[in-house]
C-alpha cells in the first residue's frame, strides 16, 4: 500500500505528487511506482515526469489536460500501485581512488578521523540507489552511503571537480557528469561517462537502478578513459527484474 500522497500545484502546467518529506527507500519506491504506472497509462496531455527523492513532478499541457482531471485520474491509479520492487538494473562502475583522482580524501580523512583505506573500503563496498538526477545534466544523486562517511558540505565551494568525480557530502553520494564548482568532497573518480550526448545510451543509469563500484588502478583508469572517450560504456549492467 502506498502512503496517501499530497497533490500540490506547481503552476497551471505541472503537478507535484508528494509522498513524504525525507530521503527514504520506502518513499522513493512510491515515487517510482507512480512514475511507472503513469508511463504505462500513457495519459493524454502528460508531457513529462520527473521523479525525485520524495515526489513525482508531472508536467502536462494545460490545453489538453486540466489539473483537476489529472488529480481524479491519479487518485484512481493510486489504489492499483504496487511499490514493492526490485531495482531494474545493477551497474558495476569502475572507480579509481588513487592519486591524482583522490583529490579531497586527505581532507575527508582528517575531518572524519578515519584512515584513508577505510574511507575507500566503505565507499567502494556500499550498494547505492539512483534517487534522482539534478544540478546539471547527468549528475547522479545516490543514496546508500555508509553513515560513517557523513560529512557536511563545504561552506565555500571548491574549484570544479572533473567529470566522473565521485563526490560525497551531507550523507549522500553522487557521480559528477561535468566539471562544476561544488561544495562536495571528491574522493575518487570513474572513467565512465555517465552522460554522453554523442552515445546511443545518453544516460548510463535509470532512476531506481542500483550502483556498485569496482576498484581499479590509475593505469586501468587511463585505458578506460580512452575507451569511454571513443563512445564505449565501460560499465557493466546486470538486469535484476528478469531474474
Amino acid at each position: 500500500m502506498l502512503s496517501k500522497p499530497r497533490y500540490l500545484p506547481a503552476g497551471e502546467s505541472a503537478l507535484v505528487v508528494e509522498f513524504g518529506a525525507t530521503i527514504a527507500p520506502r518513499i522513493h519506491d512510491c515515487v517510482l511506482a507512480l512514475d511507472a504506472a503513469l508511463q504505462h497509462a500513457n495519459f493524454e496531455g502528460v508531457t513529462e515526469t520527473v521523479p525525485t527523492y520524495r515526489s513525482l513532478m508531472i508536467h502536462f499541457d494545460p490545453r489538453r489536460l486540466a489539473a483537476e482531471t489529472l488529480i481524479t485520474a491519479l487518485a484512481k491509479l493510486e489504489d492499483t500501485l504496487k511499490p514493492a520492487r526490485t531495482p531494474p538494473q545493477r551497474w558495476h562502475i569502475p572507480a579509481c581512488y588513487d592519486s591524482p583522482h583522490d583529490e579531497d580524501i586527505a581532507e575527508v580523512a582528517a575531518f572524519l578521523g578515519l584512515p584513508r583505506a577505510q574511507i575507500i573500503d566503505l565507499h567502494q563496498g556500499a550498494r547505492y540507489r539512483v534517487y534522482m538526477y539534478g544540478f546539471a545534466p547527468g549528475y547522479i544523486f545516490l543514496g546508500g552511503l555508509p553513515p560513517e562517511l557523513t560529512i557536511p558540505r563545504r561552506a565555500v565551494p571548491r574549484s570544479p571537480a572533473p567529470p566522473g568525480s565521485l563526490l560525497i557530502a551531507g550523507g549522500q553520494a553522487l557521480i559528477a557528469s561535468c566539471a562544476m564548482p561544488t561544495g562536495w568532497y571528491g574522493i575518487g573518480r570513474t572513467p565512465v561517462k555517465v552522460f554522453d550526448p554523442r552515445r546511443a545510451k545518453i544516460f548510463l543509469a535509470g532512476i531506481g537502478d542500483e550502483i556498485c563500484f569496482e576498484r581499479i588502478d590509475g593505469e586501468a583508469f587511463d585505458a578506460l578513459s580512452l575507451a569511454a572517450e571513443a563512445g564505449e560504456l565501460c560499465a557493466r549492467g546486470e538486469r535484476l527484474d528478469e531474474l
Binding site: L8, P9, A10, G11, E12, S13, A14, V16, E18, A21, T22, I23, T47, E48, T49, V50, P51, T52, Y53, R54, S55, L56, M57, H59, P62, R63, A66, A67, E68, M132, Y133, G134, F135, A136, P137, G138, Y139, F141, S177, C178, F195, P197, I202, F203, I207
Partner: protein, 350 residues
C-alpha cells in the same frame, strides 16, 4: 538555394533558441528555450512556422546580421526593439524579405529585454537531444553551445522558393506584446506552507525590483523580506517554469528558461505562464508586484493568451501602409484619414 544569415555584430547573450529541450528533465537536463515564449511564438507564427522553429534570441546588447546566398523571409518581435534594414527604421515588430547583401540590425528600444529574430522554416543548427536550444551552462545546442559572435553563419532549413508562409512585408500588430503594468499572476504552491499567511499577504502586497543579478536561469528580485516559517532547506523536488524560490536571503528568485529541473529551496508559488513573457521582458531596476490566482484562472489565462497569439497572421498589416499611417500620426496630421485597417484583405495569406 538556401540563404543564410551571417552575424556582423552580436551583443552579449544572443543565442539560438527553439521551444526547448524536453524529454530529459528527469536526467537533469535544463529545457532552455525562449525567455519570452509569447514573443518567440509571435515571430514564428508571422512566418507560418510552428512554434518549434529555431530563432535567435536577441538581448539588449543588440544584433546585426547580413543576408547571404539567397533572399530570406525574416521576422522580429518582442519588447520595443529598434529594427533597421540596411539603415531604414522598421516598426518594433515586422516581417520583411531580406535580399542578399541587406543587413538587419536590432537594438534595445523603449522597453523590453529580448526580441526574437525568426526566419521562414527556422534556423538549421545542430540538433542536440531533440532540440536546437542553446544552454550556455552545459555548452549544449545552438552554435557550439555558446553565445553568437561576429562571423557566425546561421543556415536555414527551407530554401526561399519553399518559404510559402510569407507573401508580403508586414508590420506585426501584436498588442499582447505591449507593455502592461498589471501585477504578475501567481498560483500558490507547492511549498506555500513554508510561509505564514501573513508573510504571503506581505508578498502579494509588496513591490519588487528586478536586480541586475538575473540571467536566463533565474531573475532575482529585491523587495520586502519573505521569511520562512520553518527553515529553507527542503529535500530537492521538481522545478517548473516560473517557480518562485525563496532561498536563505529571503528574496525571491523566479526560475526562468534555463532552470534546473530539480531544486532544493521552498517554492512559494509559480508565476502564471501567461505572464512569464512579460516578466522576462523586465529590465533591471524595473518594479513589479504579484497577484494570487487559482490554477483554473492561470489555465484560462494561458489558453486565452495562446488563442490570441494564434491570430498573429490575421493581424499582419502591409508594411508600407502601416508605416505611412504611423508617420502621419507622428507628424500630428490628424488621425483617421489613413486607416491602417482598411486594407484588411491580405493577399491570400496561406
Amino acid at each position: 538555394m538556401r540563404g543564410c544569415l551571417r552575424v556582423l555584430r552580436a551583443g552579449p547573450g544572443a543565442t539560438v533558441q527553439d521551444s526547448g529541450r524536453f524529454g530529459f528533465l528527469r536526467y537533469g537536463v535544463t529545457p532552455a528555450g525562449p525567455m519570452d515564449w509569447t514573443a518567440f511564438r509571435t515571430a514564428n507564427f508571422a512566418l507560418g512556422n510552428d512554434d518549434r522553429a529555431a530563432a535567435i534570441e536577441v538581448t539588449t546588447g543588440g544584433l546585426e546580421v547580413v543576408c547571404e546566398g539567397a533572399p530570406l523571409w525574416v521576422t522580429f518581435a518582442g519588447g520595443a526593439f529598434v529594427g533597421q534594414r540596411s539603415g531604414m527604421v522598421l516598426p518594433k515588430a515586422a516581417r520583411i524579405r531580406l535580399e542578399p547583401g541587406e543587413t538587419l540590425m536590432a537594438r534595445a528600444g523603449e522597453f523590453g529585454a529580448f526580441t526574437y529574430l525568426a526566419v521562414a522554416g527556422g534556423f538549421d543548427t545542430l540538433v542536440v537531444m531533440g532540440s536546437r536550444s542553446t544552454h550556455l551552462r552545459s555548452g549544449m545546442g545552438g552554435i557550439e553551445g555558446r553565445m553568437l559572435k561576429a562571423n557566425d553563419v546561421l543556415p536555414t532549413v527551407v530554401p526561399v522558393e519553399e518559404q510559402s508562409g510569407a507573401s508580403f512585408e508586414a508590420m506585426i500588430d501584436a498588442p499582447w506584446l505591449d507593455r502592461d503594468p498589471d501585477p504578475f499572476r501567481v498560483v500558490l504552491g507547492p511549498q506555500d506552507d513554508y510561509f505564514t499567511p501573513e508573510t504571503l499577504r506581505e508578498f502579494f502586497a509588496g513591490v519588487f525590483t528586478l536586480t541586475p543579478m538575473g540571467d536566463r536561469m533565474a531573475y532575482r528580485l529585491k523587495g520586502p523580506d519573505i521569511a520562512h516559517a520553518r527553515g529553507y532547506d527542503i529535500v530537492s523536488d521538481g522545478v517548473a517554469l516560473g517557480a518562485i524560490q525563496i532561498p536563505g536571503d529571503k528574496q525571491p528568485l523566479v526560475l526562468m528558461a534555463d532552470r534546473q529541473p530539480t531544486g532544493g529551496y521552498p517554492k512559494l508559488g509559480h508565476v502564471a505562464r501567461a505572464d512569464i513573457g512579460r516578466l522576462a521582458q523586465m529590465r533591471p531596476g524595473e518594479a513589479c508586484c504579484f497577484r494570487e490566482v487559482s490554477v483554473a484562472e492561470a489555465r484560462a489565462a494561458l489558453l486565452a493568451c495562446e488563442d490570441e497569439i494564434a491570430t498573429t497572421v490575421q493581424r499582419l498589416r502591409p508594411l508600407r501602409l502601416a508605416l505611412t499611417s504611423e508617420r502621419l500620426f507622428e507628424a500630428n496630421l490628424i488621425g483617421g484619414v489613413v486607416d491602417p485597417l482598411a486594407n484588411e484583405q491580405n493577399e491570400g495569406e496561406f
